[in-house]
């Protein structure tokens, strides 16, 4: 097990360095002179220009710059935002809970709906329900989620007035940030109705962000369940006289879940991409919206740091899924 763990972790190191290198390149590839971008003005006095270049460390050889960048990254120093003049890392950490909360609700929704739907579709293979689930999941998979968000806002916010249009909390409430999760902070704040407000703001964005994972999970559960249901041990269980649901719920599901868990883990990348669109649609104050705005404001350090952090996050989750998979399945662990 230790050997498996070490191999997998060591495989990630070059990828990590590669990502850091790409992020490092980003700041050198963006159009415009770095000093002018930093100052936000053109025609900076040449003496001052050289001085600033030196201050930013950009007059040193590239390998030195890269080494100091890697050093900075490892110490959590991701640069300073050109707009807010705050460290990029703390800016990211302030906004990240909003994205995480949204992502958690989206994944929960996708699992709670997708898993039973896929299971039932497999058990009732060929039935109208099966066709419905498969059709709906292919539609969900093909959905332009930014449009889907607009459509939901149109129906539930504009026409029915059931849910708010944007943001995380109604302006009637002011809640101290404790955890950054609005649903928890509102509960802690003890204000009547604030929790409901936070929840009602979360519903539509979670549905939108959860749509593609939901479709993927339903499809994966169905196919994995179909495979397991045709195994000999299921026939044995049936022959023993166990009831249908006991077989499905206990014997089949447990084995069918392994690939599903992997797929859920691999959805993190999709979720982060989706968060960019969902947050833009719903004005959700998370890292996705922040990144898109950084491009518009030419705040390249923020973009650089944000991209690096998200890539590392996705990588870390993928690695954990990999390790978890090895833990659950000895066959993977001992593969060379």
């Amino acid at each position: 097990m230790l050997r498996f763990l070490l191999t997998r972790v060591s495989l990630v190191i070059p990828t990590f360095l590669g990502i850091v290198f790409l992020a490092f390149l980003l700041i050198h590839l963006v159009p415009g002179d770095p000093v002018e971008v930093r100052m936000g003005e053109r025609g900076v006095d040449p003496v001052r220009h050289a001085q600033l270049l030196h201050e930013m460390g950009l007059d040193r050889p590239y390998y030195e710059q890269f080494a100091s960048y890697v050093g900075g990254v490892l110490h959590g120093n991701l640069g300073i935002s050109l707009i807010t003049h705050r460290p990029v890392l703390s800016e990211f950490l302030d906004l990240f809970p909003a994205t995480l909360e949204l992502a958690i609700f989206a994944v929960l929704l996708a699992i709670v709906v997708g898993l039973p739907a896929g299971m039932l579709a497999a058990v009732k293979r060929g039935s109208p329900f099966d066709h419905l689930v498969m059709g709906a999941s292919l539609t969900g998979y093909s959905m332009p989620i930014f449009w889907w968000g607009l459509l939901l806002i149109l129906t539930f916010s504009v026409n029915l007035h059931w849910t708010p249009v944007s943001g995380r909390l109604s302006l009637d409430y002011f809640v101290d940030t404790v955890t950054g999760f609005m649903t928890i902070d509102t509960l802690l704040s003890d204000q009547d109705g604030s929790f409901v407000s936070a929840l009602s703001h979360l519903i539509l964005p979670s549905i939108v962000l959860g749509t593609i994972p939901l479709a993927v999970i339903a499809r994966m559960t169905r196919s994995s369940m179909l495979e397991v249901l045709s195994e000999d041990y299921i026939r044995t269980a049936r022959a023993k006289g166990l009831s249908g649901w006991r077989i499905i719920g206990l014997h089949a599901l447990r084995n069918a879940l392994i690939p599903v868990v992997t797929v859920i883990g691999l959805q993190v990348g999709t979720l982060m991409g989706g968060a960019i669109l969902t947050e833009t649609t719903f004005s959700w104050p998370g890292v996705g919206k922040w990144l898109v705005e950084s491009i518009g404001r030419r705040d390249y350090p923020a973009l650089q740091g944000g991209v690096l952090l998200i890539a590392c996050l996705v990588m870390a989750v993928n690695l954990s899924v990999d390790l978890l998979y090895g833990l659950l399945n000895p066959r993977i662990r001992h593969q060379r």
């Binding site: 590669g18 590839l29 539609t139 093909s142 332009p144 930014f146 459509l151 149109l154 504009v158 982060m272």
Partner: protein, 305 residues
């Protein structure tokens, strides 16, 4: 497979003579009974027709502004007229015409992105599979790095470097797809290289390039075709997403995602500005996915669940 085909062989006059079935015909026979794939094919044919004959099908120019027809509702709503069947947008442009011309753009986007990423991916995959060793490690590690980033995020970063615009958006999206093709191509190449016909070809003196492109590559196309169809739809989706974020095609280009870019303002007053372009994206993407699924089942029955 053989038993499934038997009754069709008997009824199909073109096949009765006992001539071997061409691979394309085999795929067609396997797909013919897949209702989803056929529905997808019909929709794709319709979209292609609109795209090719946009100049004749569209009632108006996609960029012409009718100054006295701002936000006219579509024909099925009160106040709509047949002059603008899908209504007009905030500057008086015919939405139906814009959607029809948008079909042309979306197909161009899909074609260019898929061709570009397919060509690069096959190139990398062949090099990796044939030469192994250092080039293989270098290429595959690099692909891992690209894959570690969410594809939309990577596309956004590339567009941030290159500058917003449709061409740059297509390049960015194509780059994010390369690893998928490279991995697929490499895996197929490795499988094929271990087979006898490759050894035979090598023994009879075929050079590396000939082995690569003439001997091995044609036998690797099946998974690549499936992936190409499926990524055709994601390319349309991703380009629309970039357009929506203001990083793809720029106004007044009638790109479906760009049409939605500032739609939020009109949600209340003119919902048709929002609903119709998005519907066009959904239907087109769905059609390509249906056909891709059908193709996969037809080309690779092993993957069929």
């Amino acid at each position: 497979m053989a038993e499934e085909l038997a009754p069709k062989l008997a009824t199909d006059p073109g096949l009765a003579a006992g001539a071997p079935i061409s691979p394309w015909r085999e795929v067609w026979l396997a797909m013919r009974d897949n209702r989803g794939a056929m529905a997808g094919l019909v929709i794709i044919a319709l979209v292609v027709f609109c795209a090719v004959f946009a100049d004749f099908v569209a009632p108006h120019s996609p960029v012409e502004q009718f100054r006295d027809h701002f936000l006219t509702p579509p024909v099925w709503q009160a106040g709509g007229s047949w002059r603008f069947p899908f209504g007009t947008d905030d500057v008086g442009r015919c939405i139906l015409s814009r959607i029809i011309y948008g079909a042309r753009l979306s197909l161009i986007i899909g074609t260019i992105v898929v061709t570009l990423s397919l060509a690069l991916g096959i190139g990398f995959g062949l090099i990796s599979g044939f030469f192994r060793g250092l080039p293989d490690i270098a290429i595959m590690r690099f692909m891992d790095i690209v894959l570690a980033m969410p594809s939309l995020l990577l596309a956004i970063v590339i567009v941030a470097i290159l500058g917003p615009g449709l061409v740059n958006a297509m390049i960015a999206i194509a780059i994010t797809y390369v690893p998928h093709y490279a991995r697929l191509a490499r895996a197929s190449v490795l499988t094929e290289l271990s087979k006898d016909y490759v050894t035979a070809s090598r023994v009879s003196g075929a050079g590396t390039l000939r082995l690569m492109f003439v001997t091995v590559l044609p036998n690797c196309v099946a998974p690549l075709i499936v992936q190409a169809t499926l990524s055709f739809s994601t390319a349309i989706l991703d380009a629309a997403a970039l357009g929506f974020l203001g990083l793809g095609a720029q106004a007044p280009t009638p790109e479906w995602g760009t049409m939605l870019a500032d739609a939020l303002k009109f949600l209340e007053s003119a919902p048709w500005v929002v609903t119709l372009p998005g519907l066009a994206i959904l239907v087109t993407v769905l059609a390509f996915n249906l056909m891709g699924d059908g193709l996969r089942d037809a080309l690779d029955p092993k993957l069929k669940h």
